[in-house]
Symmetry: C2
Subunit: 347 residues, 2 copies
């Protein structure tokens, strides 16, 4: 088939080469025939180095995340869908409505164009399903051996609707209630199960999903949620410890109430890992005033991504900012956060 660029890109056997990042014709063709075509929106189609759009006056949210997950494709997703979901979620955790995304690609010379297209089409699908278009971007290429296939940094902007009080890590207060939206550790186990050398049998899929619609229901039910955060790298344990430090409080968590899939527990026992230190990519932690907890829980459970939502504990006064767990056996232990690496390149 003809292309306005002359020779068409070879999607079957072609590979990324240094010209695809050099600012010349080859790059312009890749941008045109892959990114602009897949992401398909009028702002990107303008092909300027930036997107310009109207916003109402108010609170705006900006967030960015790099994605270096390995392997690039895993049960339940790939680096493309993950890069869209993860950044939408970081916008949503401010109680905000995500508006637009940007994407910066760092490609390794020699990476198959076919795999790149698969990733970009997955991003496009995730973005379309979420209703959050990718409106600007950038592509760089590094020499073979100086990268690892594809790295993606996505940035999201959004607006916080007027009645919403911005949730923030330092707003947890003694007496507040801690909720999670669903099972912990799925993403971590899904990635591990797809790694060479670690392959084991499991049906667990990544929970990678965009949480902005769940959050919209939540802030509609309770406009003043004190804290919202997605427990990604470091898992629930890192997230709760971060919040305890930011808010200068302690927590008392009822361990048996934390939802964990049986297959995740089994895989963690096999590998000597703690599901609470494994990354999630479609779950959130919410902390709210006790008076609003039931209303918030109800709103969460009404959303397809919150059906397993549960109250797991309360905020306490604690000058040491410890996160304590009440175990199934009636004892208590301190939930420390990840010290070592546990799982590199989980997202």
């Amino acid at each position: 088939m003809a292309s306005s660029w002359g020779r068409r890109l070879d999607w079957d056997t072609g590979r990324v080469d240094m010209t695809h990042g050099a600012g010349g014709r080859a790059m312009a063709q890749l941008v045109d025939e892959l990114f602009v075509a897949a992401f398909d929106n009028p702002l990107l189609a303008k092909k300027n180095d930036q997107a310009v759009f109207e916003v109402p006056a108010g609170r705006m949210v900006l967030t960015t995340d790099g994605y270096v997950v390995s392997p690039l494709f895993f049960p339940g997703g790939d680096i493309g869908s993950l890069a869209v979901h993860g950044t939408i979620n970081d916008v949503a955790m401010a109680g905000a409505r995500p508006l637009y995304l940007s994407a910066s690609f760092i490609l390794e010379e020699g990476f198959p164009l076919r795999d790149l297209r698969r990733i970009v089409e997955s991003m496009a699908r995730a973005s379309r399903e979420a209703g959050v278009p990718i409106v600007t971007g950038d592509t760089k290429v590094v020499e073979k051996g100086k990268g690892d296939g594809v790295f993606i940094s996505t940035t999201g902007v959004g607006v916080v609707p007027a009645p919403v009080v911005t949730p923030s890590g330092e707003r947890a207060r003694p007496g507040d209630v801690v909720l999670v939206s669903g099972t912990m550790g799925d993403h971590g186990v899904a990635i591990l199960s797809s790694r060479e050398g670690l392959a084991f049998e499991t049906s667990v899929r990544s929970d990678s999903a965009a949480l902005h619609r769940l959050v919209a229901r939540m802030v509609e039910a309770v406009p003043d949620i004190h804290v919202l955060r997605d427990p990604t790298r470091g898992g629930l344990s890192a997230t709760l410890n971060e919040i305890a430090q930011q808010s200068r409080v302690g927590m008392l968590i009822d361990e048996p109430r934390i939802p964990v899939l049986r297959e995740v527990t089994a895989a963690c026992e096999l590998l000597g890992l703690d599901p609470l230190q494994l990354a999630n990519e479609g779950k959130l932690v919410a902390i709210t005033d006790r008076r609003h907890a039931d209303r918030l829980l109800e709103a969460m459970r009404a959303d397809p991504l919150g059906t397993d939502a549960t109250i797991i504990g309360t905020i306490t006064e604690d000058e040491h900012h410890f996160v304590q767990m009440e175990t199934a056996f009636g004892g208590r232990r301190i939930l420390d956060w990840l010290v070592g690496e546990a799982l590199p390149r989980i997202c």
Copy 2:
């Protein structure tokens, strides 16, 4: 010295390791003691996964760029200052006032912490001098041999002041005048001169600089500039060809009027390169209605970054969208854009 994290980071001999990207304590310490300390602003200090700020109603700009420049340090800058300047410039090219930046770091295991600190402090300085804070970010670490020291993706947001008509690549009209803000090719030659195997004697430094104050003067003088773009990768030749295609016009450029430093010409002759295909990181191209050209030129020359500003040509009707050059010898040639790679990892 004591640290709230226990053992202090070893800035003399320490190196990035996988724990610095794992979401646990080591990462939290690096974020605290390096990024939050250097970038030093209240939004980042909140340590949420996103920044929230007030914006007025109006046109907002979003732009992102990945930086993979090699070497990381070069005459006139480093990857850190470049990542700040480049993204501020892409915001400014929409006629906008840059408000905030985000930064996503992809670090290679084993990279010296001392070099990382030098880069981050350079970013902090560039951001402070420009008055555009880095308010949110992310850090990932990949295994040794899967990256190349440091990659940075920066994203910028800004607002277009009310009277300004947004410049855009498709707005060049036959009869319009083309201006450049200064000498072409400095950044490309500076990078080349610092590459191993290509080292040659030159005093040329990168022109890396934030152009938003120059642009503010320009849009104040001429609120309706048709096109503004910074000729980075691919140089002036790629930028003019892109604009010609977007606007479906031709151009007639008076080659001898294009400012090029004598040392840049000399280096290019030595290396067999064209200064018009070399990247710039502190220059812009402006296209405006002929009636406003002199006013715009005057405003540009009044700025320290525009003292060498020059009118270099005009927009023509041309169904082939050719960029034609009138040479010093009275002939004409077509200025094609970069076909091969010329200079990989120039930014």
